[in-house]
């Protein structure tokens, strides 16, 4: 079993011995998987369909319960759902393949949504929403509803929502999966720019070679259902 390294950087994410079994599957989706990402790194998790890479991302965000293993985020090891909720509210931002914007809310309100779960007053929320929209080159989208946005615009709004509570870590699950090449490139450029500006740690699940190559390094998950063999390989970027 190998464990992904992060060089000399302090670990933003340190996952050890992750095991996850789904009831409908005979073999585990994650099988004693170790994964470490240094602070400020931009890492792509790559692998074939069904290899467990998205499962790994959800495990890193506490959205699925593990059968075994620990995940530390910025030195904290949450052990309860409520602790994970708090981490997602303060330290982890999430972006998904589908944008999951709420259709009845404007783009601005969608970005504001995570802040309603935090103790941020209304004027500060609006200021931050406008700032985030500016960061994703979407200032003009503030009052527009998702139905009126293009795919690229929607995903930029989703990225802004992922950053709403100013997390230190951004986890993205196939963020370009439903975009064309030009929009994919734009999203990746955006993530790289935000990473540089905000000092983010960015972990992206992708099957897009272009996206993977844009990251500092690639972490390959292959057939996570092995037994006592090496099931994870790390590739240099």
């Amino acid at each position: 079993m190998t464990r992904a390294g992060s060089g000399n950087l302090p670990a933003a994410v340190d996952a050890r011995g992750l095991v996850k079994r789904f009831p409908a599957q005979q073999t585990p989706a994650l099988d004693h998987l170790d994964f470490c990402v240094g602070s400020g790194e931009m890492v792509a998790i790559v692998g074939p369909s069904g290899s467990g890479k998205s499962t790994l991302l959800y495990a890193l965000s506490g959205l699925i319960a593990l059968d075994a293993g620990t995940v530390s985020v910025n030195g904290q090891t949450p052990d309860r759902p409520a602790a994970w909720t708090l981490l997602r509210r303060t330290a982890i931002g999430l972006v998904f393949q589908e944008d999951w914007l709420i259709p009845t809310l404007t783009a601005g309100q969608n970005i504001e949504l995570p802040m309603l779960g935090a103790a941020i007053d209304k004027s500060a929320r609006v200021r931050r929403v406008r700032s985030l929209l500016a960061d994703v080159n979407g200032s003009e989208l503030f009052d527009r509803r998702p139905a009126s946005l293009s795919g690229g615009e929607r995903q930029r709004v989703a990225v802004a929502r992922g950053l709403a509570n100013m997390p230190r870590i951004l986890l993205a699950d196939e963020p370009t999966g439903e975009l064309d090449t030009a929009n994919s490139r734009a999203i990746i450029d955006l993530l790289k720019r935000l990473r540089a500006k905000k000092g983010l740690t960015v972990i992206i699940v992708t099957h897009d070679l272009q996206v993977a190559e844009a990251c500092d390094r690639q972490f390959l998950v292959v057939d996570g259902r092995g037994t006592d063999q090496v099931i994870v390989k790390e590739h240099a970027g």
């Binding site: 909720t85 509210r89 303060t90 999951w100 809310l105 949504l113």
Partner: protein
Amino acid sequence: MTPISLALVNLRSRPMRTLATLASVILAIGSFIALVGLARGVESSLLSALNDRGTDAIVSEAGAADLVSSIVSESLAERLAEAPGVSAAAAELSRLTSLENGGSVIVVAWPVGSFPWATLNLTAGRLPASDTALEVVLGTGSAARFGVTVGDSITVFQTPFEVVGIVQSDSILIRNLSMVPLKVAQRLTFREGQATSINLRLSPDQGPSERDETVAALRVQFPMTSIEVTSALVNSHTFARIADALSRSIAIVALFGAVLAIFNTMSTAVRERRGEIAIMSAVGWARSRIVGLILFEALIISVCGGILGCVAGIAVAESVSRSAIVAGIVNPTISPLLLVQAVSLSLLIGLAGAVFPALQTVSLSPASVLRGK
């Protein structure tokens, strides 16, 4: 955006469903207000009528379902009047009789010169001159309904009576009574020597406990009768009890229907909004906050429905009380306390209907929803 505006946006985004649910809550609370208000109106009408005529206790047939179906001997009044603690006794014959126009009227008869006649507040005319005169005194409400005044004639018990007096009263029941001499009523209804009840006026120098003692002593002295002070009589009156039981039964059904409507609405909302709920969880909303949002949406519907239901209930109760069949018998009694109870009930309806769907959100796996599995 605030949590409140978010809840309002969610409700506005499904307007037809929200309005349908609101309508069911309005229906439930409106039914509750109207039915309970009318039932309490029956009780208060009866009580105020008895109080207005100065009756402290009523003697009726033991085991009779209500005062109208009770039968006692008229002569019982003389014996009761001589009992210790009793200052006056008056036999009464009560009948609910149909009118030619399809409506109904309560006719009461007392011996001419007895104390119930003396308590009446005449605004025109006079009281019946003798026990055998075909003369009737009408409450102002009855006079207005029949369109008659002193000197006119009306038909009661298929017999023409001359209207000789009009009386005013704070009691809606008395305002809508037709009052005739006892002997005449007994003859026309084939009940010579009979009464439906005996009105008792107790000695005025008695306190409440002494009155209770007097009534207790009368019960021993007259074992074949039922003797109740007026307030207790109203509570045990079969008509009032039936009205109360019916109103509560129907109201409970309506309230239960509203709970189901809220449950259905919020269950559907939770199913339709699985993605929204999952994303809220993913961006750090605590489960309690998500549950709170669902409950809050239900409470908005139920509170609005409760307030509008109160308005609708008052309107319906007033409308029913003016209908020909019950006009003059029931005046809805809708107190501020009843309105508070109704709005509180609507809150409970909202919580009861939404709590399970809200808790369903806790069982959702955000990861499976967001991954489309």
